[in-house]
Symmetry: C2
Subunit: 523 residues, 2 copies
């Protein structure tokens, strides 16, 4: 099986469409593979209308069947074997081992959501019994749980062709919640998107679930995205990508006659703060780990560390030297898409026009889209006065900021906008001595890391992969882990409703055995 | 103690400001009481800067102290005695008994939030232990809980001078979460707002909590609201009011360089569906209860039923006759503010210009702002083609819609936008026979009521007081009940963080004894 250049609209393959485009090989710099066509507004509309028409039917599907669907998709991804890996490698130039690991993560996400819906307590069922004898007014019987919100638009990410694309975390969580999904595939990997779409369509068919539950639309221009955002059927949006892209979707969604939420995970610098004892005792080791983290996948991780802050003093020179050496020795693998290559070069040019020194430059590895790792250094005063230095350069660039003292370091932290993570390296009493800094960082990020690196996002209940604007559009929610299902659900309360017409989770006999809060007490 | 015409900005009273205005007596139609002045942009800014400056300090306050603060405010409201009731009655013309009951509800809300934060589990603590031996990568130790988001802007509501105003549900939940609050008081009851503000300021002082935690600003024009929305310090907004007001705030918030969420509860018609058996067996009784609910407080409840739908057939005429009689016998108490009076008359004129019959009109009671209860009737076909008929008339108006059959009734339901509630009256197998209707309604509302009235919002865990747009801006959240605290909090994850620097809720020894999810299992 190989990609054919097809959209999948409510169970049916369609090659037709608007402007043609092909995948791009980051190694050769040449387009390759079948011709894909931009989805037309008619195709976008048909996908969304089908999703809306069958949303009710899909919402009614028993949790066990939704779980089985998610497990079947996970199995289907494995079943594609090397074909999927080869396709994704060819389209993204990411290493085969990375793609294989990403497929395993994608399957894990699907099975975690399967387990979540099979267990069932995620609906947050709650019962408050009535009291007919209460004065002056009888107390009604009230029962509440989460219900799916309706069709979700998912935008595939360039940097995770599997885990945050067609069957990635957004799709898995939306299907788990009971919402149909319309995916707009990322044009960097249309073939991978198509292969995965077929797996989903096949799993829906095998389970005799409604075709309208899933569609994949291809597109390279903004027109497809804005047509999708304008569809009245779409109830919410999941997006992982650039600030510009996320903000554009957010603005489109807010301007609708009936606005919808956009859960966008956008840029982040993931600043790293190296405190004095750590700097003095293990500066070079920290510099080395930081560089490895920053250069991973050529900096194409959301959690890639793009800023490191330290104070002058013991170990500072050794740290800076080690960081320069590590970046200079770095080799930049090809990035996924020409637009990322262009964006990296443009961002470097913008920053280098400011009072910033380029203190190390690695080499671009093989491939047309290879990029050079870059270390830039600036004083805290310059960083404070130039907002551009406090926003992301997407790619393998690190901005080093040396501060005169702890107060200046704290001021840098205070000047930051929202980021996904902040990392602090501290030995001895470093952390205790920098309480104000830690408090500020807590206000700025979704995840605080001690003595580690920000890359490597564990998929578990306690993970937070989101943060204050512009790290994400709504820091209450996130795209990683099972709590991400909450984006696609809202509470409904049934008042004095007959037992036999209540959802199973709210009946007295609790046939699904879910955890509930009964009269205010967890059971 | 009586009102003096004062803002309270970070612990200090200020009379100065821009354009002057006074409270308005709905009985006499005359302004009365002290002169209030619109807050200037400088005053707005000072309130917000003070809130931001002390937000960190307030976030650090122990849960027990936050609980004590909320209880002190509740006690302070009681302590105002008749002065508060008389002031609110004079400003709103709501009956003294209603105001006293509302004060009790307000105090209940405050003490419910006190209990919530004292118990502590609302932070949704979760721990995933690390595993240094895991291959290929060690598993980090991850711990997560909710933290306050920062200063919250609260807009007082006209229709709940206590329960959804200065110390109402929005303020109580925000303070409980650990967020400072800047209230923009509703100009319909500035004196009431001022009296309540003094209680909060006094409670903060007595507890030696930061002054910047609370401010009250007065204002009658949009300028004060938009100045408040533009303040960078404001992290979120709570609003209860009209669709136009909520949408304006939503748009301002979305257009900010860093957008913030607006949790607005806007208009709702709370449609009522009377099914055939119920119509035949107890139509007149249903009509009577419906009219009582619709005329309560002259229709100034968010949950006031403004639409009733039934099918032709046995009992239909008797139902319609009884409804007409009940509305014709109704006496409209004065509404709270001249703008509501004007809005009601304008909305009636708009609707009466459509193919709609005015079939009953009650009388306006005493008072300059008395309004006449009104029953309008239209066919399902007219309702389907005229969106104006499917949106709220704020005041004591009911639109009756008679349908040819169940299919037409279902079509009416399908044409509705989001509402807070829907009520269904059904006897025998009515509900079983109308499964499609019930499914549609579930998609349209936050609360489904069987054989009751929508007014009367129980304050408990299972209540949902929100709904799809435009009932509220974000149906995931609500303004009633303890779950409303989630609006003002976001999750943060601590990775490999030292035990003694973790928040108490996340330490191994769990000193606050909160419920947690540990390695995926609730404890």
């Amino acid at each position: 099986m190989s990609a054919r250049g097809e959209h999948w609209i409510a169970g049916h393959a369609e090659h037709a469409g608007g402007v043609a485009f092909r995948a791009y090989d980051p190694m050769t710099g040449a387009p390759f593979g079948p011709e894909f066509r931009e989805a037309t507004s008619d195709q976008v509309e048909r996908a969304c209308v089908a999703a809306a028409a069958e949303a009710r039917q899909f919402a009614r599907v028993e949790p066990a069947a939704r779980g089985a669907l998610l497990r079947a998709i996970a199995a289907g991804l494995d079943g594609l074997g090397d074909v999927l890996v080869q396709c994704a490698v060819a389209e993204t130039a990411l290493p085969a081992a990375r793609i294989a690991a990403e497929r395993a993560r994608t399957a894990l996400q699907l099975t975690q959501f399967a387990a979540l819906v099979e267990e069932g307590s995620w609906v947050e069922a709650s019962i408050d019994h009535g009291d007919a004898a209460r004065a002056p007014q009888p107390k009604p019987d009230l029962r509440r749980m989460l219900v799916p919100i309706g069709p979700v638009a998912v935008f595939g990410a360039s940097n995770f062709p599997l885990a945050y694309s067609v069957a990635g975390g957004d799709t898995a969580s939306a299907l788990a919640a009971g919402c149909p999904v319309v995916v707009k595939g990322h044009p960097a990997h249309p073939g991978t998107s198509e292969l995965v779409a077929r797996v989903i369509v096949k799993a829906l068919r095998a389970a005799r679930l409604p075709d309208g539950t899933f569609s994949l639309l291809h597109g390279r221009s903004h027109q497809v995205s804005s047509a999708l955002l304008r569809q009245p059927a779409i109830a919410a949006v999941g997006f992982t990508g650039s600030f510009a892209g996320g903000r554009a979707l957010f603005d489109l969604a807010a301007a609708r006659p009936a606005p919808i939420p956009v859960f966008a995970e956008m840029g982040s610098m993931n600043p790293v703060f190296v405190l004095p004892n750590a700097l003095a005792r293990r500066g070079p080791e920290i510099a080395h780990r930081l560089a490895v983290s920053a250069l991973l996948a050529s900096g194409q991780f959301c959690t890639s560390p793009g800023m490191v802050v330290w104070t002058k003093g013991a170990g500072a020179d050794a740290f800076a030297e080690a960081l320069r050496a590590a970046i200079a020795a770095g080799i930049g693998a090809p990035v996924v898409h020409p637009s990322i290559h262009t964006g990296y070069e443009r961002a470097l040019a913008e920053v280098k026009a400011l009072p910033v020194a380029e203190t190390a430059r690695g080499s671009a590895g093989a491939g047309a889209l290879g990029v050079r790792p870059t270390l830039l250094e600036a004083s805290a005063a310059v960083v404070a006065s130039r907002p551009r230095l406090r926003s992301e350069i997407y790619g393998p660039a690190v901005l080093g900021v040396d501060c005169a003292d702890a107060a200046e370091m704290t001021a840098v932290a205070q000047s930051l906008h929202g980021h996904l993570t902040a990392t602090v390296h501290g030995d001895g009493d470093d952390l205790e001595q920098h309480g104000a800094l830690l408090e500020i960082l807590r206000e700025k990020v979704g995840r605080l890391i001690a003595n580690g690196v920000p890359t490597g996002v564990e998929v578990c209940t306690s993970m937070v992969h989101g943060g204050p604007w512009p790290a994400s559009t709504d820091a209450r929610f996130q795209a990683v882990g099972v709590t991400s299902i909450r984006r696609w659900a809202r509470p409904v309360c049934w008042q004095d409703w007959p037992q036999d017409l209540l959802p199973a989770e709210l009946r007295d006999d609790n046939p699904r055995g879910v955890r509930r809060v009964v009269d205010g007490v967890p059971r």
